[in-house]
């Protein structure tokens, strides 16, 4: 936060064309000559500084996620003296906002105006997909710390974009396999919001579930972002004679769905399963007892029993007033971790060199989420089956079972 006034002034100056006074921009005082659209950047001064643009939401509906992402990133740096190996890390923060109209310019701004070497962040999938050309043309590296769209590391894959989080289908597929092998081969009802991520979750679940011998009873999509009354759909689930429900909701929709699932009497007869965001972070407290017994899959829970996670949770709570970390905190914490590893062997700070180096870091063995590795530039990681339980008056996502390593599902 402290560097914001500088940030703003610099941006203003560059906008009004007074940019020539700034070293970063004077390297490229014209937008016409040659095909180079990127600015000079501050790289090349070996062993000096690596400048990172942290683009996370500071406004809009994802602002809470942005806070967790920023905390995870800052915690890692704080624990490691603000350095990646010999490089001093300089972080420039920009606001991703709610979607591409703010997110894409924010990425362009840190790349072209602040001249960062690496971009880290992005919550919104459309933004992550939308900055592909910008990064490719600037030949800079982006580590996506949330956006779960399959295409980021599948159909639209580029060497310049890596991901430290998850894919929508990956988390759902683990649940699909699990439910097919635990007595729910038929009678599973799928429900998700009517937008890209919801459909990817349904697709990921369905293919794994069917591969395990299951048959989906029916599926429904609910209007995205405009409704929090699920009564008609809950009645639809009952009428279909479902034996179990698998759903994908997050934020306000997750709160409403879980509460109404109980209010309309479904929770006592039709067990509710979901993608982990259903009960992750601050929504769990709002769902209160309605969430008890809900089972979800995710690549993280603060309840994971390993030394790295114990230390991480303790440090996080200490640094941020007792608040527990979420999967978002871990995703940016790990982004710092993998960048640190890559810089140990990288020959330069450009996207090609960093991409090559990231490809060679092998297994990340000290992550709070347990060991994981990059596979097609996105984590191949263990997915955990979690169940909401009341532990000494606090609702937590207790680990039921480690479902083992899971890749991003094939197209």
């Amino acid at each position: 936060m402290a560097d914001q006034p500088i940030l703003t002034r610099r941006r203003l100056l560059s906008l009004f064309g007074a940019a020539a006074t700034l070293p970063v921009l004077s390297a490229c005082g014209s937008s016409v000559g040659g095909g180079d659209t990127g600015s000079g950047g501050s790289g090349g001064g070996g062993g000096g500084t690596v400048k990172v643009g942290l683009v996370v939401p500071q406004s809009g509906v994802y602002a809470a996620l942005g806070t967790d992402l920023q905390r995870g990133w800052e915690l890692w740096l704080q624990q490691n003296g603000g350095k990646f190996g010999d490089y001093t890390v300089e972080t420039v923060i920009a606001d991703e906002g709610e979607g591409p109209p703010t997110g894409v310019p924010a990425v362009q701004k840190v790349l072209q105006s602040d001249g960062v070497d690496v971009v880290v962040g992005l919550v919104n999938s459309a933004t992550a997909l939308g900055v592909k050309d910008t990064l490719t043309e600037a030949k800079k590296l982006l580590i996506v710390t949330n956006a779960g769209a399959e295409d980021v590391t599948r159909a639209q894959r580029t060497p310049y974009i890596w991901r430290s989080s998850f894919t929508n289908g990956q988390i759902a597929a683990a649940m699909g396999t699990h439910l097919a092998s635990s007595g729910f081969k038929d009678g599973v009802y799928l429900i998700a919001p009517d937008y890209a991520a919801g459909k990817e979750v349904i697709a990921g679940f369905t293919s794994a579930f069917e591969a395990g011998g299951g048959t989906v009873l029916a599926s429904a999509t609910t209007p995205f972002g405009t409704t929090t009354d699920y009564q008609p759909f809950l009645t639809g689930i009952q009428q279909a004679g479902a034996k179990a429900t698998f759903c994908f909701y997050s934020g306000a929709e997750a709160i409403a769905f879980v509460k109404q699932y109980q209010q309309f009497g479904l929770s006592s007869t039709i067990p509710l399963y979901g993608s982990g965001f259903l009960t992750e972070g601050s929504v769990l407290k709002q769902q209160a007892d309605a969430a008890l017994g809900v089972q979800t899959t995710l690549h993280y829970s603060d309840q994971i029993d390993n030394p790295a996670n114990k230390a991480f949770v303790e440090a996080y709570k200490g640094a941020y007033g007792g608040e527990s970390p979420s999967c978002f905190s871990v995703q940016s914490y790990d982004a710092a971790n993998v960048l640190n590893r890559a810089l140990a062997s990288a020959t330069a700070l450009d996207g090609d060199a960093l991409s090559t180096a990231l490809g060679g870091i092998g297994t990340v063995d000290d992550s709070p989420r347990g060991p994981w590795e990059f596979e097609n530039q996105t984590p191949k990681q263990n997915i955990y089956l979690r169940k909401v339980e009341n532990v000494e008056g606090v609702l937590v996502n207790a680990i039921v079972q480690d479902l083992g390593p899971q890749s991003q599902p094939a197209a």
């Binding site: 809009g60 509906v61 602002a63 809470a64 009517d194 429904a220 999509t221 609910t222 209007p223 995205f224 972002g225 405009t226 409704t227 929090t228 009354d229 009564q231 008609p232 759909f233 009645t235 639809g236 009952q238 009428q239 934020g251 306000a252 709160i255 409403a256 509460k259 109404q260 209010q263 309309f264 009497g265 479904l266 601050s282 929504v283 709002q286 769902q287 209160a288």
Partner: protein
């Protein structure tokens, strides 16, 4: 199926309480109050902050009522200098107020979505028509029906109501009769806003409180008002009950078109009857 009809009534009455203020303010003053959704959200946040016990819930209702009245009177005074300006200017002013109010609510209450508990005793479920149904929504139907009747009687049967209706019909004439219609405007704006914030508290246990909810309910209220016809209490009631059913029964019967049923209903009404079901011909021209 029957549960969906029942739920349609719960949503419908809630929408009526929300939309009737919007409709009257428009009908009387030609002001499209785009801050109406923010009023609802304010009520919902009050519910989230105070509810949990009966005392808290009632306190939330009382605070929301007073705050709504005050906010409505303020909005009325703010639009007064724009009396002779275009609809657009008035709409833009309220849009600006809506942005400011929504951000102020986020600053006060944070940007995490919040749930609003129903008062104790109503937070459970009962068996109705062979299905489990939340008690609170049943009570909401009753409260909504009573409020609807009260508003209807006040507007259609009392002297004050006659004044309001007369102002809707012909503002200049009422002014010529020696009635200060600025006062009428302040009162109607205030009461309409009071109903919106009250709807926010009442709707809290169903919709929760979250950033962005203001826009969602504003659109719902606009659709209700357009379908029912502008400036009419009966129109708002009819529109609200129709949208309540469309929003529940429609989605149950046509789940694959769930995202569109609302606007499909709107389009249908507009094509068949552009002035709204109960709208007079006068509502069209301006």
């Amino acid at each position: 199926m029957l549960v969906s009809v029942l739920n349609g009534f719960a949503i419908g009455f809630l929408l009526f309480i929300l939309a009737v203020g919007l409709s009257l303010v428009f009908g009387m003053m030609d002001v499209l109050n785009l801050a109406h959704g923010a009023l609802f959200l304010g009520g919902a946040y009050l519910g989230a902050a105070l509810a949990g016990s009966w005392g808290g819930f009632l306190a939330a209702l009382a605070v929301a009522a007073v705050a709504g009245l005050a906010a409505g009177a303020l909005l009325s005074l703010m639009t007064e200098p724009l009396r002779n300006r275009s609809h657009l200017d008035q709409a833009l002013l309220t849009l600006g107020v809506a942005f400011v109010a929504a951000e102020a609510l986020i600053i006060v209450f944070g940007d995490d979505p919040l749930s609003v508990p129903a008062p104790p005793g109503l937070d459970g479920s009962v068996t109705v028509l062979g299905a489990t149904y939340p008690t609170y929504r049943l009570v909401l139907i009753g409260v909504g029906a009573v409020l609807a009747i009260v508003v209807h009687v006040v507007v259609e049967r009392t002297r004050i109501g006659a004044l309001v209706r007369a102002t809707v019909a012909d503002r200049e004439m009422v002014a010529a009769l020696g009635v200060d219609n600025r006062l009428v405007k302040v009162v109607v704006f205030g009461v309409g806003s009071l109903l919106a914030t009250t709807a926010g508290v009442l709707g809290g246990p169903i919709y929760g409180a979250r950033p962005g909810l203001d826009a969602t309910v504003l659109i719902l209220a606009l659709v209700v008002v357009v379908i029912g016809g502008l400036g009419s209490v009966r129109g708002a009631l009819l529109g609200a009950l129709i949208i309540g059913q469309v929003d529940t029964l429609g989605r149950l019967l046509l789940p694959e078109l769930a995202s569109f049923v609302l606007f499909a209903a709107l389009a249908l009404v507009l094509v068949l009857r552009p002035q709204g079901i109960l709208g007079g011909a006068g509502a069209r021209a301006r």
